[in-house]
């Protein structure tokens, strides 16, 4: 029972990270309507910039982490400007953008593997300071995960409610040409979507790396977790993304308790498949609820 409790606490931490990934992925998926695998590359870049700065140049973490986030944002905007925007200008369908983003991912990940090697890199060495609350042990980094993840989710929710820009970004996914006709600048909105997405990816990436380290190939796993959370929760519904992320984390924790941590990916994709069969609009999709009433 203590084990289950501990696993549930871990699930809350993981949920926070998954929520960040879901928001980061969902922003682009929802507003630009394409499955951006390049998101995984941005995820990896942010952490490796932190590693390069802190290990090679000896810059302390409080300075290298913001720089890592900045590098993530910059690379995200650059990828869009150099690859996606021109393709879209030629009228490429979303399938082409998907393949292009896969290419971007492969190129960047292999470049990083070439420079830094394939093995796991760790930033913080030694044991994390931890706190014992009754039978449960929480590390410092886990508390940071919960704080950053959930504050990020709530801040984003606050800005989504009234901010024209976020409303317009939301609207952009439905009818981009209409957004333009109302006088909202498409290109700038696109840049903001990509930078916000990178901000969430970088936050999730760096905080995970501080905890367990990173190798160049984890980006794909992060991307897929985010994507499954968004699809399971319901693409059109912001709280659905966060709920989807929480659901994945919770079921993974139960999976670890009942079977083993090796089954985590199976659980993630099991949720995806079951959702797609029974509720293709997403489990938490509000539209369905309105119809059921």
């Amino acid at each position: 029972m203590t084990l289950l409790l501990q696993l549930l606490v871990n699930a809350v931490c993981n949920a926070a990270i998954y929520a960040l990934l879901a928001i980061g992925f969902g922003l682009i998926y929802r507003s630009l309507r394409f499955f951006n695998i390049g998101f995984g590359a941005v995820y990896v870049i942010a952490s490796y910039v932190v590693i390069a700065l802190s290990e090679t140049f000896g810059i302390p973490l409080f300075a290298s982490i913001p720089l890592g986030i900045f590098a993530g944002i910059l690379s995200s905007i650059l990828i869009d400007r150099l690859v996606f925007s021109p393709l879209e200008g030629y009228g490429a369908p979303t399938g082409v953008l998907l393949v292009a983003s896969l290419g971007v991912y492969i190129a960047i990940v292999n470049l990083i593997a070439l420079i830094f090697g394939n093995e796991i890199k760790i930033i913080t060495k030694g044991m994390e300071p931890s706190f014992t609350i009754g039978p449960i042990i929480v590390t410092r980094i886990q508390i940071a995960q919960i704080l950053i993840g959930w504050t990020g989710a709530i801040l984003f929710w606050l800005s989504i409610r009234k901010n024209t820009l976020v409303k317009a970004i939301w609207a952009m996914g439905i009818a981009p040409e209409l957004v333009i006709a109302l006088g909202l600048p498409y290109k700038r909105m696109r840049a903001i979507v990509f930078s916000l997405s990178a901000l969430f990816a970088a936050a999730a990436s760096i905080i995970t790396t501080l905890d367990v380290g990173i190798d160049p190939h984890v980006g794909m796993g992060a991307l897929l977790t985010g994507a499954v959370a968004v699809i399971v929760g319901g693409v059109n519904f912001y709280w659905g993304w966060v709920s989807g992320a929480s659901l994945i984390a919770l079921l993974q924790a139960i999976g670890v308790w009942l079977f083993s941590a090796k089954w985590n990916e199976l659980i993630t994709f099991g949720i995806l498949i079951i959702t797609l069969i029974f509720r293709p609009d997403g489990i938490f999709s509000p539209k369905r609820r309105a119809e059921e009433r």
């Binding site: 024209t164 317009a168 009818a175 209409l178 006709a181 109302l182």
Partner: protein, 253 residues
């Protein structure tokens, strides 16, 4: 000269000359109609004005300012709004949100605005909401304001698009078939609104593409009759629609 003016506009698409040296002036305080057979190039003119297409030749002037080649959103910010021929709404949003999204001021666009000026944002939002409710009430959609916009019927969606356009307060409105799909009573109401807008505010310019001749005769002050990418006739509504060639070419009697 005030108003919207196009001069010698030409456009070739896929080797076909769709617009051939069209010159026209749309005056403020007037409703001008563009009529003509299908494929005459009426919608293309709108696309050229709004910046969705760039003309091969010619220019678009708005209040003597050359706005040719501006991005569509820049044209919209100059105060030129447009109603699309096929209804376009934000399907995932509620009816009210559809209008609010349009009528929030551009100032609140910065991603940091909600954190830096939360009170001002609240006020702006409240104001936008009130204005949206007013226009929804006006087109008769207020009771449905919390419905998902995708659940409205075609005619209602059209009314929603019109409410969104009106709430934005554009100085020039380019309306592509505003009356198609509307019930007679809704058509009447929309027409009355448009007429009221130009009579109350002599600064507003309205250009309509419409196939419903009843609407054109009752509403429009001036008519440009287009055929095969050219302006074939121009004049007061009754003169143009009364011309024998127009009757033969377009009206069919």
């Amino acid at each position: 000269m005030v108003g919207l003016k196009i001069k010698n506009l030409s456009k070739t698409l896929l080797g076909m000359e769709i617009i051939r040296k069209v010159t026209a002036t749309f005056l403020p305080g007037r409703i001008t109609a563009l009529v003509g057979p299908n494929g005459a190039g009426k919608t293309t003119i709108f696309n050229l004005i709004c910046g969705y297409l760039t003309p091969d030749n010619g220019a678009v002037f708005y209040d003597d300012e050359d706005i040719t080649g501006l991005q569509p959103y820049q044209v919209a910010r100059k105060g030129i709004g447009r109603l699309f021929q096929d209804v376009r709404i934000f399907e995932g949003m509620t009816v009210l949100e559809n209008v609010v999204t349009a009528c929030m001021p551009y100032a609140s666009e910065s991603p940091l605005f909600p954190f830096m000026r939360p009170l001002r944002l609240s006020r702006l939002y409240k104001h936008a909401r009130e204005r949206s409710c007013y226009w929804l009430e006006f087109v008769g959609l207020y009771a449905k304001k919390d419905y998902p916009a995708s659940e409205l019927s075609f005619g209602q969606q059209k009314l929603l698009a019109i409410a969104r356009l009106l709430s934005k307060g554009f100085r020039v409105m380019l309306l592509d078939e505003p009356a198609s799909g509307l019930s007679p009573i809704a058509t009447k109401k929309v027409m009355a609104t448009l007429e009221r807008i130009v009579s109350e505010d002599r600064d507003k310019t309205i250009v309509v593409v419409e196939h419903n001749m009843k609407v054109v005769t009752e509403m429009a002050d001036w008519v440009y009759f287009m055929n095969e990418g050219q302006v074939a006739f121009f004049g007061r509504t009754d003169h143009v629609l009364g011309a024998r060639e127009v009757r033969e070419m377009y009206l069919g009697f």
